[in-house]
Structures are given as C-alpha cells and as structure tokens.
C-alpha cells in the first residue's frame, strides 16, 4: 500500500467510525443517472444559484442598504456633489471604486437572469415530457414555489440600488399593495414604515433579499434534490429502458466529472457575460425621486409579462359608497397571476383526474405523444409571450416604428384569440408527427434511391428502421391502454361531463403501429 493510500485510508476510517458513511457511499457512488441534454437545465438553476450566493456575498461587503441622505463624491464625476441615498451611493462605489466590483455586480445580475431563464426552461422540459406525473407531484409543486419566490427575489434585488428606474418599480409595487381592498393603505404604510418612499423599505427588503428568501431557496432546493435522488431520475424511452429500470452513467466518476465540470462552465459563461455585457448601468439613471422618470421604463424579463398585463388592463375602477376598487390593478396584478400560478401548481392533479391515471411514470413522454398536454403548454406559453410583448410595447414601438396604441390593441385582442389558435395548431402538429412516426415505422426511411423494375415501373427504395428505432417510436402508452375508461358513475353531473369531455380530448391519438400492422403490410 502506498503512503498516500494509507493516509487516505486512515482519514476514511476516522470519518466512518463516527458517521458510518461508508455503507451509504458504497451504494450511492455507483448510483446511475440517465443522460440527456435537457436534464442539464435543472443543473443550470442550481449552479447559477450557487453563483448568486457567492457574488451576492461579495456585494454585501460594500453595499449599504440605507436610505439615509448622503452627498456623493466618488469616482463617477457626473454625479459628484449630488444628494442621494446611501444605497445608491454605495452601489456607485461598488461599480467605480471597488476593483472587480462592477464585474461582480454584473455577474450577480446576469446570474439572476440565467437562474430565472433556466427555471422556466426546466419547467418546460418537465411539463412537456410529463415528468411531473406520479410519483413526482411534490417536486412539481416545490418547483412552482421556487419559480414564484425567484420572481420576488429578483424584483427585490434590482430594487435595492435605489436608482431612478428601480425606485419607479417600487412605486408600482406600492400601488399594488395600496390597491388591496380594505387593508391596502394600511399594509402599504406598514411595509414602507410610513408614506412612500420613506427610509425603511430598502433596509427591510435587504433582509428579505439576503437572508429570508435565500434561506427558503436553500431549504426548498435541498428537498427538491433529495426527492430526485430518492425517487431516481426519469429517463427518455428507448431500447433497454423500461419503467422498472434506470439506464445511464454512474455517479462516480462520469457523472461527477460532467456535473462538476458543468458548474464551472456555467460560472465561466456568467463571468464572460459580466465581463463584456453591461447590465443595469444604474449610474445613467440617477438617484430616485418620485417626481422624475426615464422613458422606456422596463422591468427584468421575468416581470415583463406582469407589467404587460397591467399595461393592457381596461381602465376599470369601482367607485361606490365612498370607496374605490382598482380593477385595473387588481385584475392584472394579483387575480390573474394568482389563477395562473395556482393552475400551474395543480396541473399534475388536474391531469391525473382527467385521465384517471394513478400509475407511477418513470419513462418520459415524447411531447407529440401527449398532444393535449403539449397543446395546453404551448397555449400557456403563447399567453405569456403576448403579455411579455405588451410589457415591452414602448421599446417595440420605437424600434419598429409602430404605435403603442396599435401594439396595445393587438395584444389586448391577441391575449384572448391567439392561445386557442395555438392550442388547435399545436395539437394538429402533434398528431401529424405521430402519423409521420407511424409512416416511418411501417414504410421505412425514404432513401432517395430510384430503381426501375424489369416491368419498367419506377419505385423509390425504402429502408426499414432498426429494431431500436422501431421500439422508440412505438413504445408509448396508447389511450386504450389507460387503466380505466371512466366508469359511468364518474361521468355524471356537470363535473363528470367536463371530466369526460376533457378525458376524450386527452385521449386523441394516432394508433401506434404494431408488429401485426407491419406483417400485414408485408403480406400484401
């Protein structure tokens, strides 16, 4: 035994005698993880979260979350002698006087955008492949929670510098709180420690931004990952893959090297963006004052859809009995997002109620094989995109020489008309792709090779798929294999009729080709 091996052995022995870790590690070091590029999306979320913790900690060493008035006299000459809050002054200090400070600020902001983008992409992957089905419903809900808290955390983050743009965002947040019926103005005064803007809000959201929400993230991410570990990862269908196994690479060494390496790649890409791509140049906006504003005020992209909904809301207020209810704020700012996010969180249960499917699923769906779900997802995305477009209507108007009113009316109408159209088209596309799959399995690939038969007839030679390819294209569950065509008792009443109708829509399928089909075809 070499000296180094002996040293390592005695350390391992020391640890194991106190923790018994060897038994657990022995089993888990060989744990298998399925491989697919789309499984990286969740990893990006995790790694950008780590980058956020590291860069954020760096920023806290210099940032002063205080709305105390100071006169700026740092390195940025254009604002020299200007009276501003200490929060804004210290952000300028980080950007111009701390070496690497601007880089870290930009890395932090880019990492936040990547974090949110990766969460959304990961959500799409999980939704469209049906990875949220039993037994993974808890993890879906935790994911929706992480997305929601991520939006809040991002908003609080870019509100901290107290520049003119972020102050305007806080003003809007205050108006939303103030619009709540009965308790609104009280809650607003409690949150801001008095009238807006006051001097309490930034120190308060700082605590929420650096302590409360990151703590919550850590807890939720830990549970999220432990569940993935314990339930084992889903896998795409293919030769050798079944509902009862996991096919992939072992944790040690392949997966460790790949995942560990990927962390550094995400870090590298974020650092590159922070180095070359200027983001949120707060020194251009000036300190916040409620009497001023900059044209083209835009939130970060993950808030854009919300802003777009608020922009397109009809000018509705109820004035009665000496009270005011602002539907133009409540409807797009709270009620609609509330319905959307609740619906999203409950989707696994809704789908399982509609299909009556209570089985465990570890093989992912190819999106085309679940046309109804895929169409629902595409429909929701189109709704969000239209809202997002209206959130940038001023920027779009100036860039493409359109009128804001035109874009606003387009999105107001489009919000109701485009999603149903997208649903229908997506469902058709899915069914067409299923037909194409069926065709491919039964007739093989077109080779482009033309052959003239002795009779003079010209035919194109088709090449049969391999057994592996045939299996991948035909392995999916067919609706007639669903556990139960809904029992008569479950389809009675309005709820039952709705369920039956949705069940039928969900079961629309092109029959997957079978070996019998192929044999019959060969026969002719």
């Amino acid at each position: 035994m070499k000296k180094s091996e002996r040293a390592l052995g005695s350390v391992a022995n020391y640890v194991d005698e106190r923790t018994g870790a060897a038994k657990w590690l022995k089993k888990n070091l060989t744990k298998v993880f399925p491989d697919h590029w789309s499984f990286m999306l969740g990893e990006i979320c995790l790694y950008s979260f780590v980058i956020l913790l590291l860069s954020g900690t760096f920023l806290t060493f210099w940032f002063d979350p205080s709305q105390r008035d100071v006169v700026y006299n740092g390195a940025y000459a254009p604002l020299s002698g200007v009276s501003m809050s200490s929060a804004y002054a210290s952000t300028l200090h980080i950007s111009f006087d701390v070496r690497g400070g601007l880089l870290m600020r930009q890395i932090h902001h880019w990492a936040a955008l990547i974090f949110m983008a990766a969460i959304v992409a990961h959500l799409f992957r999980v939704f469209f492949t049906g990875a949220f089905r039993k037994p993974r419903e808890f993890n879906w809900i935790i994911g929706v929670g992480l997305l929601t808290f991520g939006i809040v955390e991002g908003f609080l983050g870019y509100s901290l510098p107290d520049d003119l743009l972020s102050g305007t965002g806080i003003r809007i947040a205050e108006a939303i709180i103030q619009a709540l019926p009965v308790v609104g103005s009280y809650l607003a005064f409690f949150a801001f420690g008095g009238p807006f803007p006051g001097t309490a809000f930034i120190p308060r959201i700082y605590t929420v931004h650096v302590l409360l929400l990151p703590g919550l993230f850590l807890a939720l991410i830990t549970v999220h990952l432990m569940l993935v570990w314990y339930q084992k990862h889903t896998q795409f269908p293919g030769p050798g893959r079944t509902e009862k196994n996991v096919v992939g690479y072992p944790l040690m060494p392949v997966y460790m090297a790949k995942a560990g390496g990927f962390f550094f790649i995400v870090f590298g890409v974020t650092a590159f963006l922070g180095a070359v791509a200027s983001i949120n140049p707060i020194w251009l906006y000036g300190p916040y004052t409620p009497g001023q504003i900059s044209a083209g005020s835009q939130p970060d992209w993950y808030m854009g859809w919300l802003d777009g909904l608020v922009r397109m809301a009809p000018p509705l207020e109820t004035h009665a009995f000496g009270h005011t209810i602002s539907w133009n704020i409540l409807l797009p700012g709270l009620i609609l997002p509330g319905i959307l996010f609740t619906g999203m969180a409950l989707y696994p249960f809704i789908e399982s109620w509609v299909t009556g499917d209570k089985r465990e699923h570890h093989l992912l769906d190819r999106p085309r094989n679940a046309p109804n779900r895929t169409a629902l997802g595409a429909m929701s995305i189109s709704f969000m995109i239209i809202s997002l477009v209206n959130g940038g209507n001023d920027i779009i108007a100036t860039h493409f020489h359109l009128t804001i009113n035109g874009i606003m009316w387009f999105t107001r109408i489009g919000l109701f008309t485009v999603p149903p159209i997208v649903f229908i088209i997506t469902k058709r596309i899915c069914l067409s792709l299923q037909r194409a799959d069926r065709d491919l399995v039964l007739h093989g690939k077109e080779t482009g090779r033309l052959v003239m038969l002795p009779s003079g007839e010209m035919i194109e030679v088709h090449e049969q798929l391999t057994d592996e390819q045939k299996w991948t294209l035909t392995q999916h569950q067919q609706p007639d294999a669903l556990p139960a065509p809904l029992p008569e008792s479950a389809t009675r009443g309005l709820k039952g009729k709705l369920r039956k109708r949705m069940n039928q829509a969900h079961a629309t399928q092109i029959p997957a080709p079978t070996l019998s089909d192929l044999k019959e075809l060969d026969h002719h």
């Binding site: 060989t30 744990k31 690497g100 880089l103 305007t168 003003r171 809007i172 108006a175 103030q178 308790v183 103005s185 005064f189 409690f190 009238p195 006051g198 309490a200 050798g240 893959r241 009862k244 196994n245 996991v246 096919v247 992939g248 690479y249 090297a257 790949k258 390496g261 990927f262 550094f264 790649i265 995400v266 870090f267 590298g268 650092a271 590159f272 180095a275 070359v276 200027s278 409620p290 009497g291 504003i293 608020v310 922009r311 809301a313 000018p315 207020e317 004035h319 000496g322 005011t324 209810i325 133009n328 570890h362 001023d394 606003m408 057994d467 299996w471 035909t474 079978t514 070996l515 019998s516």
Partner: protein, 332 residues
C-alpha cells in the same frame, strides 16, 4: 382483436467503442487536451491576479458594440472566464473521452411501502397515539387546538409598529390657496411670461421657512405646468377658470400607479405615462383617452398673486396619485 403483436423492447444496443478506447494514440491526445485546458485555467487565474494588481482602475477604452469599457473590470472578468470555463471544459472532455462510457442498468423499486410495513406503521401510530390519550381526553385536545390556533397572533401583533396609520396623508398635499409655484430643479418663482406657448415645466409648492422638502412630499406635490393657446382648451367654465393665460397645471403623479407622468406630446397635447402608457388629453382636463388609468390627473387651480407670480388658487380638490380603498372617487 386480441392477438395484436406489439414491437418488443430490443434491450440496450451493443456498446460501440470510442477511438480513445481502442487507439492508445487517440487516448494520449485526449489526455493532452485535458491537461492543456487545466493549464490554461491556471494561466487564467494568474492573469486575473495580474489584472487586479497591475491595471489601473480608471482606464477606459472604446470597444465597438460594447462602448466605453473599464479595462480592469473587463480583464478581471475575462481572466475569471478562462479560469473557470477551462476547468469545466477539461473535466467534461475527460469524462467524455477517457472515462468509461458503457451505460449501466439499475433497477427501480416501487416507492410504495410493503403492505406489512404500512400495517405496522398504522398499528404503531395508533398505539403511541393511544398512550398520549388524545382521543380519550377531549379537554386537552380542544384547549391545545385553541392555544395553537391563537399562538400565531402575537407575532402578527408585534409587526404592528412597522409603520404608522395612513390617517389623512394620502388625501392631502402641500398645496393650498396662495402657495407659490417654484421650479424644480432650481426653486425659482414663476411668472406666466416664463413659460412660452407649447412649453412644459415641473413645479413644486413653495415651502414655509424651515421646512425641508422630502421625497414623500414630492411624491404628492409634483405638478406639471403646460402652456397652450387659450383657444386650444376644451374645458367647462369652472375648469377654465382654474387656468391662467393658457397655463394649465396637473398633478404629475399618475392616477394609475403613481409614476411620474413625464412625456408631453406638443402636437397632440397628450400627456403619456412611461410606465403603463396611460394617455391624458391636456385640452380636456387630462381626461384618460388611452391605457389602464381610470381617472384623469387632478387639476390644480392656479392664478397670479399681487406680485405677478403664479400661485395655487386652492389645494387639489381630490387626492392625487393611485387609488386606495378609502378614496372617495365620486367627484373624480
């Protein structure tokens, strides 16, 4: 149709060896690539440290597309990029080219516990629960429920001192009869002749001696002065009397969500809020003609005092800014 034959799962395809598995030269080459990447990463770290020490922090260069760029910040970032990216690329190249790439199969087990375990659990739970006797002692059950139900109230009550009651703050501004208009920024008095036709100015109320201007007050007091030709107005007699020589004054705080309504279109006499594009028609007392705002911007009645300076005729007749539950909006 009972005997439909489906395609069968053919099982894992046979493992195809990579070049580095069979050709020692290719393996050697992959090894060198990985080592080169790790070495490059170390160089990146050295470069980062060098940039920190040797590059001055106030040197800027102009780079096309990127614009004026701080050389030190950028060098630090590029150094960090090389240092981290190369570790990642090296590790992945190592995993892909040299580590075993045979796929491994592991069995899954149903997550559901065995029936026996479930039954044992229920029994244990009932037995232990029975020992506590919660079912037999309803008094304890009910009082515990009460205690747990109300215990959360105290932290809620403790939060009460987060802020004061709104009282009348949202309904009032610093404007009252005779308050002089002062320019913002600057603080100079305004004469009607200071504003040409078509011009806009932001004004604030003059403060009493010793009072300090706060952001809270600016958030309610900010007013826009706009001068039109008097014949452009389309106002009722009362509102027309609130203008002076074609000068009309509105609260600058949007009646929708409180942003500063700052964009004035001279040709159309429209005021636009950059936040949500609510559009107000200046000639018709800031009536909402587009966007989500539901109420016009409150108009401030103005006139001139004995010295010829613009003053408020009276305070705002309605609360300024966004709506709230207690707001009486029956007259605008």
């Amino acid at each position: 149709m009972t005997n439909i034959e489906r395609f069968q799962n053919p099982g894992l395809p046979e493992h195809v060896h990579r070049k580095a598995d069979t050709d020692p030269k290719a393996a050697k080459r992959a090894e060198q690539q990985v080592a080169a990447l790790f070495l490059l990463s170390a160089l990146g770290t050295v470069g980062t440290i060098a940039a920190y020490i040797f590059i001055k922090s106030d040197v800027y260069v102009f780079i096309p597309i990127l614009g004026s760029t701080n050389v030190q910040q950028m060098s630090l970032g590029i150094g960090l990029t090389v240092a981290t990216l190369c570790i990642g690329l090296g590790a992945i190249q190592w995993a892909k080219k040299l580590m075993p790439d045979t796929e491994v199969i592991q069995e899954r087990h149903e997550l559901r516990s065995e029936d026996q375990d479930r039954a044992d659990f229920v029994e244990t739970f009932k037995e232990r629960g029975g020992e506590a006797g919660i079912g037999r002692r309803p008094l304890i059950k009910r009082t515990l429920g009460l205690a747990l139900g109300v215990v959360g109230l105290s932290p809620l009550v403790l939060l009460r001192d987060l802020g004061p009651m709104p009282k009348k703050f949202l309904e009032t501004t610093s404007w009252s009869a005779g308050t002089r208009l002062v320019s913002d920024p600057g603080g100079a008095y305004f004469k009607p002749s200071d504003l040409e036709v078509g011009a806009v100015a932001q004004v604030l109320p003059e403060l009493a001696k010793g009072d300090e201007r706060t952001l809270e007050n600016i958030g309610k007091d900010a007013v826009l002065l706009i001068r039109l030709r008097p014949e452009d107005f389309n106002l009722d007699a009362e509102r027309l009397s609130w203008t002076y020589n074609g000068i009309i004054a509105f609260s600058k705080i949007c009646s929708h969500m409180g942003c500063a309504v700052a964009l004035y279109e001279q040709q159309t006499h429209h005021l636009l809020c950059p936040c949500h594009q609510s559009t107000f028609d200046v000639t018709r007392a800031a009536k909402v003609i587009f966007g989500p705002a539901a109420r016009p911007l409150p108009q401030l009645a103005i006139t001139v005092d004995s010295e010829g300076y613009l003053v408020a005729k009276q305070g705002f007749n309605v609360p300024v800014g966004p709506s709230y539950w207690e707001r009486n909006s029956s007259n605008g």
